[in-house]
């Protein structure tokens, strides 16, 4: 119908608006629909590929107001990346409609992460009069599973694992009612039509009970370990106040020291246990519901059982209806650790979980909604009032970020703490944290997750980026793929990951401290000072090389590192490493003299290991970076002193000499200075010498911008020390918040380097 001649409509306009970003499966269209009705806008809205397209008509002013409204206050889960506005000839729509979707393979694609249960759904779950009372799979457009159940785009039910379930007429009605908050809720279901729970013994036998949740609560209260299927995989759960249960869990899981995370009943229960500031509270309650590393309230016996030596503990709040229901009994805190054996990845398939976890768990609380791709809990902390991601996984992935390439690129990441990135069309997509690829099951999930994300995005990567270290399993995986290969040096990737996060393109001073990464000279780097860009770097300084004996074993046994360092100094190993038996030390020193099974290392991480060993904090570690973490944990923050240090110069490279620093440590040990003081002095020294190096490099190379990266900067004290110093010196500096500073950020850096190289030519 054409109303063009009607005078009142001369001032009316028509626009096509294309909105890209996280706008699907988040209730965006019903929101637009309602706003359009309120503002008297006519036309329609539709999903187009992974964008939303609006065809709208109205008074110029009305349209402006409407657009401002939908841009500024979009629904909770949505994020808008791009808006395109196109003026069209006025048509004269009579109403506003939601039109059915069309596909668009070329558009930007945004894949939603998994979201914690929203307050409205929770209310239903806890309301005895509601049809979804105690229903563990209650969800709506504002909450529930997404990425973990998604097989392909677009995000429609038949492309998810909810495809196995047919909606009942009542759910169907909600799904089709554009005024209902379950309008187009893809995993919508109710007790009549959706997935259901089963409780099994550890050999897979069904336990027949009417109320399985109540039974599970009873089991937990009786000190049993229950494997519980959650959103992205299995958890192993036990009562956090039951010492015996926790001991049994540690033993069966072969995890003697690594801290367990807690899930607590609510924010009040969390505040009982930990000191929580406003920002931490906001993150705890956010719909991403990560594990937040919080300071323990001392003294609290409960938390000491979890990990007696640590000042911090990882805490999360319930994020599925099932979790909330588990706290209906007397338990207020559950140990909730990834359902895996030792270093293996989180289990996510029912039969495999029972096979693998049967020796750890007493019971299994499972359900029949399949997890398509496993996703672990995310871990965050708050540093200098900012959210800092330690492990980017559930809720935070896939992570979409702008990157300067239109090529289809796949960056395969490092080997431990592995992630990968895919890119196309000026956007990068970072995977969830996957773990150590040397573990066979992790490697399987890594391969599956790569295939899955590539399929979701419809990519055929032409450029494959991997670490310069060809023996990494990720680099070996690259060899099995076709396409142009780009190898990126590990610490360059760290540096560039920080540049990508902060959208930096001009040259920077890169300070990269980590455990190990292969350098271009074949030695193990990890205490690096670079001057460079995304495309290339030059090494301008580093921690002086030390010869370390024992290969990979050295990383697991800090005493080997200490022996190696001390052996090269004018000091006797046995004077300090008294707890290590003499035969072992002799074997290592003989091998050092013969240069047998030794490597040269400039790693700052190893220097931390050395000091942790000298203080006899930890001689054998049972989880990654344990010694360094414990060294930071004991330090006395009121101590301001530091040790003497030397910066030498060789071949035009500044070199930090570790000898005077370690001499300081050794003299203090002789004087029986408390370890808390020695640790603080050592930390301060590393901070001081780093600042001094930066000053010299700034002067020599005339670069004023500094980025800090690498796993060592998970050390909050050291990071804050250096940050404070850089602020004082008026430096322009950056460190990680959204991209982890550890090796799980490597894939982002690799992508950044590849994009820069390809952009050149």
């Amino acid at each position: 119908m054409n109303h063009k001649n009607n005078f009142s409509e001369i001032s009316k306009r028509r626009y096509i608006v294309k909105i890209s970003g996280m706008v699907q499966g988040v209730g965006y269209r019903p929101y637009i629909y309602n706003q359009a009705k309120l503002s008297n806008i006519k036309g329609w809205v539709s999903n187009h590929g992974s964008s939303v397209v609006l065809d709208i008509e109205g008074e110029r002013k009305t349209i402006k107001g409407f657009l401002i409204k939908i841009i500024k206050t979009p629904p909770d889960l949505s994020t808008i990346e791009k808006i395109r506005l196109l003026s069209k000839e006025y048509k004269g729509y009579l109403d506003f409609q939601i039109k059915s979707s069309s596909s668009d393979a070329k558009g930007l694609k945004f894949i939603g992460g998994d979201v914690a249960t929203c307050p409205q759904c929770l209310e239903e779950v806890l309301n005895i009069h509601d049809t979804r009372y105690h229903y563990p799979f209650t969800t709506c457009t504002a909450c529930g599973p997404r990425y973990s159940i998604l097989r392909k785009l677009p995000y429609d039910r038949n492309n998810t694992t909810m495809d196995d379930f047919q909606m009942c007429p009542s759910c169907e009605r909600e799904y089709n009612d554009s005024t209902n908050r379950r309008f187009h809720t893809q995993p919508n279901s109710c007790p009549n039509c959706g997935p259901s729970l089963s409780l099994l013994t550890n050999v897979g036998k069904k336990v027949a009970f009417i109320n399985l949740i109540q039974k599970t609560i009873d089991l937990l209260q009786r000190g049993k370990i229950v494997a519980i299927k959650g959103l992205g995989g299995y958890h192993l759960a036990c009562d956090a106040e039951n010492q015996e249960a926790i001991k049994a869990l540690r033993k069966r899981k072969n995890r003697p020291h690594k801290p367990f995370a807690l899930m607590v009943k609510d924010i009040e229960a969390a505040k009982e246990l930990c000191v929580i500031n406003e920002i931490e509270e906001k993150i705890l309650l956010s719909n991403k519901r990560p594990i937040v590393l919080l300071e323990k309230k001392a003294p609290k016996e409960l938390l000491d059982v979890i990990d007696p030596n640590m000042k911090k503990v990882g805490v999360m709040l319930p994020y599925t209806p099932l979790h909330y229901l588990l706290f209906q009994g007397t338990i207020t805190a559950l140990v909730m650790t990834s359902g895996n054996a030792s270093s293996a990845p989180i289990q996510y398939e029912n039969h495999e979980a029972i096979e693998k976890l049967g020796r750890i768990a007493d019971y299994f609380l499972i359900h029949n909604r399949d997890i398509h791709i496993p996703v672990e809990d995310s871990v965050v902390k708050v540093v200098n009032d900012k959210e800092v991601l330690v492990r980017r996984a559930r809720g935070y992935t896939p992570f979409t970020f702008p990157i300067n390439t239109s090529e289809e690129v796949l960056a395969l990441g490092a080997e431990e703490k592995s992630t990968f990135c895919a890119a196309e069309n000026q956007y990068g997509y970072m995977s969830q944290y996957l773990g150590d690829l040397k573990d066979f099951d992790t490697h399987r999930i890594y391969e599956k997750a790569i295939e899955n994300l590539i399929n979701l995005l419809g990519l055929k990567p032409k450029i494959i980026v991997h670490d310069y270290n060809g023996s990494y399993l990720s680099s070996q995986y690259a060899e099995t793929m076709t396409g142009k290969k780009i190898a990126v040096q590990h610490h360059h990737a760290h540096m560039v990951s920080c540049m990508v996060e902060h959208k930096l393109f001009s040259p920077v001073i890169g300070v990269v401290f980590d455990g190990t990464g292969l350098g271009t000279d074949g030695k193990i780097w990890g205490g690096e000072f670079f001057v460079g860009t995304r495309e290339r770097f030059s090494r301008v300084g580093h921690l002086k090389y030390a010869t370390i004996q024992g290969g990979n074993q050295a990383i697991k046994e800090p005493w080997r590192i200490a022996t190696s360092y001390i052996h090269a100094m004018d000091y006797h190993e046995k004077k300090v490493l008294k707890v290590i038996d003499e035969k072992s030390i002799n074997a290592v020193t003989q091998a050092l003299d013969q240069n047998f099974n030794c490597f040269e290392s400039s790693s700052v991480g190893r220097l931390f290991d050395c000091v942790a060993s000298l203080l006899n904090l930890r001689q054998k570690i049972t989880y990654d970076a344990q010694a360094a973490i414990e060294l930071e944990n004991i330090l006395d923050p009121s101590v301001k002193e530091y040790y003497g240090y030397d910066i030498g110069e060789e071949n035009g490279l500044y070199q930090i000499d570790y000898k005077s620093i370690l001499m300081g440590v050794l003299k203090d040990i002789e004087k029986q200075v408390p370890p808390s003081l020695i640790s603080a002095r050592f930390h301060n020294t590393i901070g001081k010498v780093t600042l001094e190096m930066i000053s010299r490099i700034k002067e020599r190379y005339r670069v004023n911008r500094v980025v800090l990266s690498g796993g060592v900067f998970e050390n909050t004290y050291l990071l804050s020390y250096i940050v404070k110093g850089l602020k004082k010196r008026n430096c322009d500096f950056y460190y990680h918040q959204q991209i982890p500073t550890n090796d799980s950020g490597i894939s982002v850096g690799q992508l950044g380097v590849a994009a820069a190289i390809e952009g050149k030519g």
Binding site: D439, Q549, A587, V588, F596
Partner: protein, 334 residues
């Protein structure tokens, strides 16, 4: 005879003849060798023949459990054995530097001769060169060997249920060489596992129909050999760490030096892939062989729905990917 090898011992003249007569012929004595001139001539054998060659440059030349001579004979014998062949004849070539100790040369020849007699293998032709001091490090030995393939043995395609057996403790040779070369003082008497394996082959004759594959885990050790088996078979390998035999001293010295025993060379061990049905009997049979008392079944093959890799279920839990050796952990071990 002088007590040092001189350049003239390698000039092909009188001194060479004396050396050959007084050392090599004396210790390798057999009709074919003594009567051969430029080439040994021998009767043909029925069936398929196996032919192999290997050079030996080990350092140190003498080590607990053997020396370069024994190694050179065993190495070639064992390569023939893994091909299912009964070793018959060997050739040997010596490259020595001038000044090489004559007594040591004789000691090497003695152990070669002994190993030959024990195994019924004959060295029937050879060559000797002496080079200027420093051109080689002491002595290098090349051996080639011919054997007749036992018709009952043929490599077969591996199936999911097949078992993997090792004929004795791993890593003894590589560890012994390392300890000796780097003069690491350790307690206990560690010994190389260097030994000929033809007696195992003899014993296993009745089971050849059930034996799918044989391989000696020399350079790169068990891990590398299993990766080679993966390469040819396309089947993923599952090892059980707790089942792998290893002498306590070997284990502890590896721990001390931060070495991984899976990558150490063995010089007297064989990996045998055997049909599950017969694996028990075969294991019993192998254990009766001298030096194979610790033989064990150490794993099997991964189901085909899993990606083909060599993996190991570790003692501490978890399943670790075991790749082939990258670069040399220890050069000049054989």
């Amino acid at each position: 005879m002088k007590d040092k090898v001189t350049l003239r011992h390698g000039d092909g003249g009188k001194h060479t003849s004396i050396l050959i007569r007084d050392i090599f012929h004396k210790h390798f004595h057999n009709e074919l060798l003594v009567n051969s001139l430029d080439a040994a001539v021998f009767d043909g054998h029925h069936g398929r023949l196996a032919f192999t060659t290997d050079s030996f440059v080990v350092k140190p030349l003498v080590f607990p459990g053997g020396d370069i001579g024994k190694l050179a004979v065993c190495g070639t014998i064992n390569d023939l054995v893994t091909a299912g062949a009964r070793p018959l004849y060997l050739s040997c070539g010596f490259i020595m530097e001038e000044g090489f100790d004559m007594k040591l040369l004789e000691k090497i020849a003695v152990s070669m001769g002994e190993t030959c007699r024990k195994t019924g293998v004959k060295i029937i032709t050879g060559d000797t060169k002496v080079v200027e001091k420093g051109s080689v490090d002491g002595i290098f030995i090349n051996t080639s060997g011919i054997g007749v393939v036992q018709t009952a043995y043929q490599p077969k395609s591996i199936e999911e249920g097949d078992q993997i057996m090792i004929t004795g403790g791993i890593a003894q040779h590589g560890t012994t060489i390392a300890v000796k070369r780097y003069e690491i003082k350790v307690e206990g008497n560690m010994k190389s596992d260097c030994m000929p394996l033809n007696h195992i082959l003899e014993r296993l004759q009745p089971y050849m129909g059930s034996i799918k594959l044989m391989k000696d885990p020399t350079r790169g050790g068990l891990a590398t050999a299993l990766n080679e088996i993966l390469e040819v078979s396309g089947k993923g390998v599952l090892l059980l760490e707790e089942a792998i035999p290893i002498v306590g001293e070997v284990k502890s010295i590896n721990q001390m030096l931060g070495l991984d025993p899976l990558y150490h060379a063995c010089e007297g061990r064989m990996i045998i892939v055997v049909d599950k049905q017969k694996s028990g009997e075969v294991l019993e049979e192998v254990r009766r062989c001298e030096g194979c008392e610790d033989a064990a079944i150490i794993g099997g093959f991964l189901p085909t729905n899993l990606p083909p890799k060599v993996v190991m279920d570790t003692v501490i839990g978890g399943r670790r990917i075991v790749g082939p050796l990258e670069g040399d952990m220890l050069p000049r071990i054989c």
